[in-house]
């Protein structure tokens, strides 16, 4: 068991290195720091001195991979690759365009992100799994048919519509909660209700359909026939036999996203003005703040890999075949 987890962790290392190399290539090889400087300073009126200054301020004035001027270990460390990419492994993300420390900024923004993402995730899971289970229970009836029709219709609606429509209806027309903003303490819930509600509703269509397919796949298995042949009532067949088995494929899909909840949601946070990591990313994209985007790409990948490992561990909890290996 422990060896299994350690092995999984060791597998993650080369992937993390790969991600780091990809981001490095994307941010420093596709475009040289000179290009970025020219872009940031405005393409037309730019002097070589201004570019040099821009680069020096951000530490982009070093060579990419090997510093021929330095000696010894500094040959490797006094480079953009080491300073900007390798140091991300130890949580050093450098500074944003506005001069703030990215790592500290990220630390202070995970709270609001989680405050939205976690309730959304849990509520969605409860709603969609129970809806899907109900549909599968009443499979091949009119209820199932119209439920699926509803799902297909709901997943054909753009996520933007749910947000814009919800804000308009609930906040502007009905004036139930504020349109956007974020508070702390007990007042926070007034700001959280709407984004969470919208997050749950916008996910119903596709998730329900997916879970329903998984349930129906299990329904046709032989062991279900055995359970029925025992004379068990259909509810017991569903909750004891089918749900337990369907959990395995469902876990694959959901455990992997749990760590990514820290990242928040780009759309929701920017629409509702939540000061989380999602809006941080969007602002960085709009301001073309490369350092922040690069950091977020790396953190996102780390969290995804953590999710993969958690998925593997969660298998051992639900699937005895893996637990005993």
């Amino acid at each position: 068991m422990l060896a299994y987890i350690i092995r999984r962790l060791l597998y993650a290392l080369p992937i993390l290195i790969g991600v780091n190399l990809v981001t490095f290539a994307l941010f420093f090889v596709v475009n040289t720091p000179d290009d970025m400087a020219r872009m940031q300073l405005g393409v037309k009126r730019v002097t070589p001195e201004a570019i040099q200054k821009w680069k020096a301020e951000r530490g982009y004035d070093k060579p990419l991979l090997v510093n021929a001027e330095a000696s010894g270990l500094a040959m490797m460390t006094e480079t953009i690759f080491f300073q900007k990419s390798v140091r991300m492994f130890v949580g050093d993300f450098g500074h944003a365009e506005d001069g703030r420390d990215i790592a500290r900024e990220i630390g202070s923004r995970t709270g609001p992100s989680l405050a939205i993402a976690l309730p959304t995730f849990i509520l969605s899971l409860i709603v969609t799994v129970s809806f899907a289970l109900t549909l599968a229970f009443f499979r091949a009836t009119a209820f199932d048919f119209w439920g699926v029709v509803l799902c297909v219709a709901m997943m054909s609606i753009s996520g933007l519509f749910y947000i814009i429509g919800g804000q308009y209806l609930i906040s502007k027309v009905w004036r139930l909660v504020p349109i956007s903003g974020y508070g702390t303490g007990l007042e926070a819930w007034r700001f959280l209700v709407l984004p969470v509600l919208i997050g749950v509703i916008s996910g119903i269509g596709s998730s329900t359909r997916w879970y329903r397919t998984i349930f129906l796949e299990e329904v046709s298995k032989d062991y279900v026939r055995t359970a029925r042949a025992k004379g068990l009532p259909e509810t017991l067949v569903f909750f004891r036999h089918i749900l337990r088995n369907a959990l395995i494929p469902i876990l694959t899909g959901i455990v992997v996203v749990i760590p990514l909840l820290f990242m928040g949601s780009l759309l929701t946070e920017s629409f509702f003005g939540i000061p989380g990591l999602g809006s941080y990313t969007i602002d960085a994209i709009n301001a073309q703040d490369f350092a922040v985007v690069r950091s977020m790409v790396f953190i996102g990948s780390v969290l995804y890999i953590v999710g993969l490992i958690l998925t593997d561990i969660s298998y051992t909890l639900v699937d005895p075949r893996i637990r005993f290996e």
Binding site: D222, T226, A227, K230, N245, P320
Partner: protein
């Protein structure tokens, strides 16, 4: 006790409902075993599911009456029916591997039934479960209750299934092909177990099977189904003594058997009519050799005495005339020098484990076997599942790289050959696979499939001559010429296997490796393929390496036999020698475990305990010693050497030294 009257079951597809079971009636008395016998697709499993009201979603009960002790089951509400299911009537299924819930422990799965039907829970339930597991022959039941299905072997899983079925103390047990997925030695154990339990509890058993041998071993009365109808119901004596329906007779005639060596098996021409195009008269008329004009007009009624009724106009009593059994002229082949000589062949698959995926051991699928095959003869490699016989076939063809040993074809060593020279060698041997539905690419025309080998090996030059060759090959395997332009899905299983034979023959090999080519086929179709193989051997002088677990086929087809156990050959010799005078205890047990399709087909004389161990971790000494009835001290420590019984007959056993 159980009465079924005029039961009709159908499956809906779109707007149509097709009757898969069309008006069958029979009854089962307390303590009786009634066998429902029929080939695939005849509706026997649907009948079983219909009785339990467990039909799949598309299934419908169209008409009829099912009653258990005069209680009409079809009229019960679903909730009331559940009290019967698993309670007074229980069911076991064909695939023990998939029929148990993989994420619940065995104890949980049995406990459900106890709680549902007997209201037992807690310590009382555990005591009962331990008792049940002991009854079905599972050792150390206290510990095994907390284990999961994947920790049980195939035969053990089926025992667990039986324990689950018994937990509700049923009066009727429906067994749907309970041993089809199991090896013969394990099958013998399970059939014995069922017979014992029946005797102890006085249960009625409805046994669904396609195997005449299992019928002979178990049944008190037999009903034969054909295309959704019962055609003959008889008690044991009448059924095996004087089968009356031409279909039943044909089934018996089609069985390969040692008494039919050298003869062509009789076959049933044509195919079962499809559900959507059922003839209005007798459904067997098109394939019947005794067909009369009246058969095609009106479906025959039942006639005969109480214990033996049949649904047929033909009243002849005689067995089939010998006209269908032609003598096959065998080539005068000498048992000369083998042209394919296998020496010390080993195929080991590494087992990787741990942090760095180091190789910690090997699955010894094939562990040093030596064979030799002479031109024009048939060597049958026989063994239970997992003994490595299929791996041998693939390793000979170099589809799997052997770990050690040599395979010599004529003067060429095949092991380690690659590229052009390997391709040249492959001209001389080809393979026919087990599953006719997986062995033909569904996206290619039959003509293209057959021509593939010729193209790859550059046998037939241009397109015109290739087309001519394909036509000739189709004729040779008994298919019409226009079959070449059609797609595999348009053919039945037997026809597909003919296509596979034609594909292999296309490169004019001298050796055909046949990997269980008939195990997926019904008996009547199996006879056609065996006849074809025999005919081709007569005409072309091909040698066969025939891989099978079916002893009837061995007896019918083999010139030479090699018996495999856990990657090694334990006995080999000429067929007569091995079958008449088996030396190795395993061979004897195997032969004795095969249920014979005769009235006197009694229980196995030699019963093997347990199941074959994993080839990853074979027992020390003789691999067979944990199951051997004649085990001695030396067997536990040392693998026995090969002992020559005669010039052609040898076995590896300490008993012989």
């Amino acid at each position: 006790m159980l009465r079924i009257e005029n039961l009709r079951l159908g499956f809906t597809s779109g707007k149509n409902t097709l009757a898969a079971v069309d008006g069958i009636s029979f009854s089962i008395a307390k303590g009786e075993t009634f066998a429902l016998l029929g080939e695939s697709g005849c509706g026997k499993s649907a009948t079983a599911q219909g009785i339990m009201r467990l039909l799949p979603a598309a299934g419908r009960v169209l008409d009829g009456h099912v009653s258990l002790d005069n209680e009409n089951l079809l009229a019960l509400s679903e909730a009331d029916m559940r009290a019967y299911r698993g309670g007074r009537m229980a069911m076991i299924f064909q695939e023990p591997a998939t029929s148990l819930n993989p994420v619940l422990t065995v104890g949980q799965q049995i406990g459900e039934v106890l709680r549902r039907h007997l209201g037992l829970a807690g310590a009382e339930a555990i005591a009962r479960m331990v008792d049940l597991l002991r009854q079905v022959g599972i050792a150390d039941p206290e510990r095994r209750l907390n284990e999961y299905p994947f920790q049980f072997s195939g035969g053990m899983k089926q025992r667990v299934m039986i324990a689950i079925a018994l937990a509700g103390e049923p009066e009727l047990l429906i067994a749907d092909e309970p041993t089809t997925a199991l090896d013969v030695t394990v099958q013998a154990q399970i059939l014995d177990l069922l017979a014992t339990l029946q005797a102890e509890r006085g249960m009625a058993i409805l046994l669904i099977t396609h195997d005449l041998g299992v019928v002979a071993r178990m049944a008190h009365r037999i009903g034969v189904m054909y295309a959704g109808e019962l055609v003959e119901v008889a008690n044991r004596e009448a059924f095996f003594g004087r089968p009356q329906h031409p279909y039943t007779q044909a089934l018996f005639e089609a069985l390969p058997d040692i008494s039919r060596r050298g003869q062509l098996l009789s076959t049933i021409p044509g195919q079962v009519p499809s559900l959507s195009a059922m003839p209005s008269g007798c459904r067997f008329a098109e394939r019947c050799i005794h067909v009369m004009p009246v058969c095609r007009e009106q479906s025959p009624h039942w006639h005969g005495q109480e214990e033996h009724v049949v649904r047929c106009y033909w009243s002849g009593q005689a067995r089939l005339a010998n006209s269908a059994c032609h003598e096959v002229s065998e080539l005068g082949v000498s048992t000369g020098k083998g042209f394919l000589v296998v020496d010390g062949l080993k195929v080991h698959f590494p087992i990787r484990k741990g942090l760095l995926q180091r190789t910690v051991g090997h699955v010894r699928a094939v562990d040093g076997i030596s064979l030799s095959i002479s031109p024009g003869r048939t060597l049958v490699l026989v063994g239970e599942s997992g003994c490595g016989k299929t791996t041998v076939g693939k390793a000979l063809l170099q589809l799997i790289a052997p770990t050690a040993g040599s395979v010599r074809l004529g003067d060429n060593e095949l092991v380690g050959l690659a590229g052009r020279r390997l391709r040249a060698a492959r001209r001389h041997m080809q393979m026919i696979f087990q599953d006719p539905f997986a062995s033909l690419n569904p996206r290619l025309r039959v003509g293209e499939i057959i021509a593939e080998g010729m193209e790859a090996l550059g046998v037939a030059g241009n397109a015109v001559s290739r087309h001519a060759t394909v036509s000739a090959l189709l004729g040779q395997v008994g298919l019409p010429e226009e079959a070449g332009d059609r797609y595999p899905h348009e053919f039945s299983g037997g026809q597909r296997q003919r296509i596979a034979v034609a594909r292999a023959l296309a490169v004019q090999p001298e050796l055909l490796i046949c990997d269980e080519p008939t195990s997926a086929l019904d008996v009547s179709v199996q006879a056609q393929i065996l006849n074809l193989l025999k005919k081709l051997q007569g005409e072309l002088g091909i040698a066969y390496l025939f891989i099978t677990h079916n002893f009837a086929v061995v007896e019918y087809l083999a010139h030479d036999v090699a018996v495999m156990y856990l990657g090694r050959i334990v006995e080999q010799g000429r067929a007569e020698e091995v079958l008449r005078n088996p030396q190795h205890p395993y061979t004897r047990a195997l032969l004795s475990a095969v249920p014979l399709p005769r009235q006197e087909g009694a229980a196995a004389v030699i019963r093997l305990p347990g199941e074959a161990p994993s080839p990853a971790n074979p027992p020390t000494g003789c691999h067979f010693h944990p199951r051997c009835p004649n085990v001695m001290e030396v067997c536990r420590s040392r693998y026995p050497g090969k002992v020559e019984v005669s010039v052609t007959h040898s076995a590896s056993c300490h008993l012989l030294t």
